[in-house]
Amino acid sequence: MLNRRTLLTHSTKVAALLASAGLLPQFAHAAYNAAAFEMKTMAELVKLLGGSAPIESKDVTITGPDIAENGAVVPVGASTALPGVKRLLILVEKNPSVLSAAFDVSDSVDASFTTRVKMGQSSNVYAVAMMGDGKVLFAQKEVKVTLGGCGG
């Protein structure tokens, strides 16, 4: 509820920013896709981004711990050695917004990124590779988030 309203105001703000995007050439071709960060499921998200139905694949790798001692910081990595990958996504199934990060892959970098995400509860995390030919491949892994000790 709150989420949607906040995101809507963001979209307006982002639109305004885009008008002045000439000042930031490196962002000129990459408008922030606020709608993508509103999606609740992988299927919805991939559809929005124009990909075909996602298929689980051994050629995509998701890295992360089996157990996260704290959900505020969960290290996750997405990678693939497949040629022709355009975009790598990191998703957390049970977060309010399923998409955490989207990386545009160029020839100058490996299709391999590591970052850290917040997780509200134990959940599957996904690495999703969007290929140049429209195929969408993914890998998944379950991460258990443990409760903290003491009074917090």
């Binding site: 443990t146 409760l147 000790g149 003491c150 009074g151 917090g152």
Partner: protein
């Protein structure tokens, strides 16, 4: 204020050293008793009240002061602490010992309460914080090890029916342990849940159910 205390205590230490210097080859430091007194003064000077955490919290009762060193209290003192604790136990109204294990599990998981950032000292705001120190339901992997495992607590002690008189001794002991742990061990690490008003009677009943109810997941 802090500075003044330090100045006064060091002045006292210097004075003590000067007095003794005539009869010792090396200047002796303060005696153990002097250090005890200085430590108490330091505790008083170093803390201030914050929210619900008032300064009376560092005024020790007999049991607290008896268990405040790296050595255990003498047997006589320990016995006195235990006897006073046993006498303090409030047994459940109407002999009703057992509540709802589901509510007990929620309490056992909850580690909140009584800290200076908590809004009130009302037991309704407090958890039992049991998993901080004990394994209880096996399904919870995030458990502490300061206390013993409570997995199968009732089952291991042969409790098949909590109302059966055969179970009465263990039921009563468990209530007493939760109400005032010091009744059975003067320097137990466990908080006195009932005696210090950390939990109310109904909350303790619910924890009792978690531990003793044959239907509780703990006893499967």
């Amino acid at each position: 204020m802090q500075n003044k205390t330090l100045f006064l205590t060091s002045a006292a230490a210097v004075a003590a050293a000067t007095l003794l210097v005539g009869c010792a080859t090396t200047p002796p430091g303060p005696t153990a008793a002097e250090l005890d007194a200085q430590a108490m003064a330091m505790m008083k000077a170093s803390f201030r009240e914050q929210g619900i955490a008032k300064l009376d919290r560092i005024q020790q009762d007999l049991g607290q002061s008896a268990c405040s060193s790296d050595k255990p209290p003498t047997e006589a003192v320990a016995k006195q602490v235990e006897a006073e604790a046993l006498a303090s136990i409030k047994w459940p109204t109407g002999g009703q010992y057992i509540g709802d294990w589901r509510a007990g599990e929620r309490l056992a998981q909850d580690g909140r309460g009584m800290a200076w950032n908590n809004p009130s000292t009302d037991p309704k705001n407090n958890g039992g914080q049991c998993y901080n120190c004990h394994a209880i339901d096996k399904k919870e992997i995030s458990f502490g090890t300061i206390g013993p495992s409570l997995w199968n607590y009732g089952k291991l002690r042969g409790v098949k029916d909590v109302t059966d008189p055969v179970s009465a001794p263990i039921v009563q002991y468990t209530w007493g342990k939760l109400w005032n742990s010091k009744a059975y061990a003067a320097c137990s690490n466990m908080p006195r849940m009932g005696h210090m008003k950390l939990l109310d009677e109904q909350q303790i009943r619910d924890l009792m159910a978690l531990l003793l109810d044959p239907k509780s997941p703990v006893n499967q």
